[in-house]
Assembly symmetry: C2
Homo-oligomer: 166 residues x 2
DNA sequence: GCTGAAATCGCCTAACG
DNA sequence: CGTTAGGCGATTTCAGC
C-alpha cells in the first residue's frame, strides 16, 4: 500500500502540518519527538516526494466578499479523451472554477465555483460555461450554508488501518 | 460590500498567504511593499478578524493511500432546522466526510468524502450514511480523476471588481 | 492612528559526529 | 538522528511622520 513507505514520524509530520501549516520547525520537531534538524530534513523530503503539495492560508470567502458558492454538474456531448482534456483545460483557465473533478455515472464533471455575487456567477454560467464547446448540460446548486469544510485527509483513519494490517 | 474594509496591502497579504502559507514574514513584507513589523501586525489582525481561518499543508491524498474520493448527494426526509442541524453534526463526526454543504434544489446536501479504498467507503455508505436517521436518499459519484483543485478564492476577480466600482 | 528603525530573542539550517 | 554553532528571521520596543 502507498503510505507504508512512510514511517510513523513522517505521518505525524504530515498530520501536524495539515492541521497547522505555519507551525515552526522546532515546534513540529517537539511534537513528533525528534530534534529540529532531522525534522526539517524529513519535511523537505516529503515536499520533494510530492506528499506535500503546498501550504495555503485558508481565507474566509464570504467575509472577503465572495457571497456565492455553487456546485455545477456538467455533461459533455463527447467523452473522447481529447474533448475531456479540452474541457478540463477550460476549467483551469476559469478563475471562478476552483475545483473540477471528473465523475463516473450520468454526469461527467462536478465543478465547485465561487463568485462575488449571483449576477457575476450567472454571467459566467450563461456566457462561459453553458456556452462552451462540447457542453451538453449544466445543472447548478447554490450552497445555502456550509456545515463542514475540512481540508485534507483523516490521518486517524489511516493510522487505524495501518494498525489493523500490522 | 465586505472586503472594502481591507486596503490593497491587506488584500495582497491575503493573496500571498493563500498562494504560499509558509512564506516568511520578511519575504511577505517585501512582496507587499512595507517593512516587516507592520506586515506582521496586519497578518495578526487579519487572523483575529477571521479573514484567515488557518494554515494547512496540502497533502496528496492518493499518494498517502486514500485512493477513493466520492461526492455524495443526500436527501433528507425532514428539512426542519433541528433535523438539518442533527445531520450536519453527524457529518462533522464522520472523518471520511471532509466537506458538507447544504444546497438548494432537490438534493439537500452534498458531501465530499475520501477513503483508503472502495470497500472502506462502501461500509461507511451502507452502515453509516444511508443508515443514518432522517436520510431518505443517497446518490454517490466516484471521482475518476481530478482536473483542478485550487484552494481559496480568485483574488484577481476581486481586484477587477474593486477597480470597476472605483 | 499609522509606519519604519533598532535591538533582542529565538529559529533555521548548515556541518560534523 | 543528535549536537553544535553561525546567520537570519521574528517580534518587541521605541521614535517619527
Amino acid at each position: 500500500m502507498a503510505g507504508s513507505r512512510l514511517d510513523p514520524i513522517d505521518r505525524k509530520i504530515l498530520a501536524e502540518l495539515q492541521a497547522d501549516g505555519r507551525m515552526t520547525n522546532v515546534e513540529l520537531a517537539k511534537r513528533v519527538g525528534i530534534s529540529a534538524p532531522p525534522c526539517l530534513r524529513r519535511v523537505r523530503t516529503l515536499e520533494e516526494a510530492g506528499y506535500i503539495r503546498g501550504y495555503h492560508a485558508k481565507v474566509d470567502a464570504r467575509e472577503l466578499g465572495f457571497e456565492v458558492q455553487v456546485f455545477a454538474m456538467v455533461g459533455l456531448q463527447s467523452q473522447a479523451e481529447a474533448d475531456l482534456s479540452a474541457f478540463e483545460q477550460r476549467c483551469r483557465d476559469w478563475p471562478l472554477v476552483r475545483e473540477c473533478h471528473m465523475l463516473n455515472g450520468e454526469v461527467d464533471f462536478i465543478l465547485k465555483c465561487v463568485a462575488p455575487d449571483l449576477s457575476t456567477f450567472q454571467s459566467f454560467l450563461t456566457e462561459q460555461l453553458t456556452a462552451a464547446e462540447n457542453v451538453a448540460s449544466v445543472k447548478t446548486s447554490l450552497v445555502i450554508r456550509g456545515a463542514k469544510d475540512e481540508p485534507g485527509v483523516p490521518f486517524d483513519v489511516l493510522e487505524q488501518r495501518l494498525a489493523r494490517s500490522a
